[in-house]
Symmetry: C2
Amino acid sequence: MNASNNYDLAKTEIREVLESWQHAVLSADLPSILSHYSADIVSFDAIKALQFIGRDAYAEHWKYCMGLSQGGMIFEIHELDITASSNVAFARYLCRCGCVQESGEEQMGWMRGTVCLRKLGTEWKIVHEHFSIPFDPETGATMFDAVP
Amino acid sequence: MNASNNYDLAKTEIREVLESWQHAVLSADLPSILSHYSADIVSFDAIKALQFIGRDAYAEHWKYCMGLSQGGMIFEIHELDITASSNVAFARYLCRCGCVQESGEEQMGWMRGTVCLRKLGTEWKIVHEHFSIPFDPETGATMFDAVP
């Protein structure tokens, strides 16, 4: 197997990791979400703080996020692009995401996601992720209505 | 030279790329800034749009950004962490950045930066970057006062 094929294999593995993570998010399955992260993950999430250092701190943040979307989360991955070597990889995508309120009303918007992974032993783990919505430099307002 | 040493070399090279890029930003040297990007870069910048696709589109955006900071840019890199293989790498950091107004007043804040690179030939190029400021989920406001 040459290097190119190895990288194709890595990209397939990473796509599976992201699909598994997405399924866990949509199922609000916190242990499964966390199983995709390394213990030393540093996350730059879209809300609340500049960074969350370590899986335990991020777990607390995930519990908070799940509390914001009692009716369930919506998380669609679009324009996914993966770059991989045999043991270091990154992916970027746009996501259409939001939550269903208890009233049934959907609150939706577009975000950007960057996911950085390392192969630790035989498994790819997310060691860094970055989610955000841009802001308008003239008003300072978060651009909840931005579209691709 | 074993794999570990190769990765240390790659990390040193990437640190030099980021320092060179930072110097170009502080010097408002657009051609030098752009020389660090691949032609097919996709950028998720902190302001204005979800994404900028390709170096030419990103160049136009950089011109706009430079127009916002006539008195010069401030861009400090903190808590830099680099992960590298021999040809794929990523880095994350917090940055204290802003601009000096023509009146001399500084407008400063903390942002998060994620930079993703590939070795193309003998040179590392930035193929993706992601800058952002988080927002407050209760008010929707951009957290310009967030601190590490």
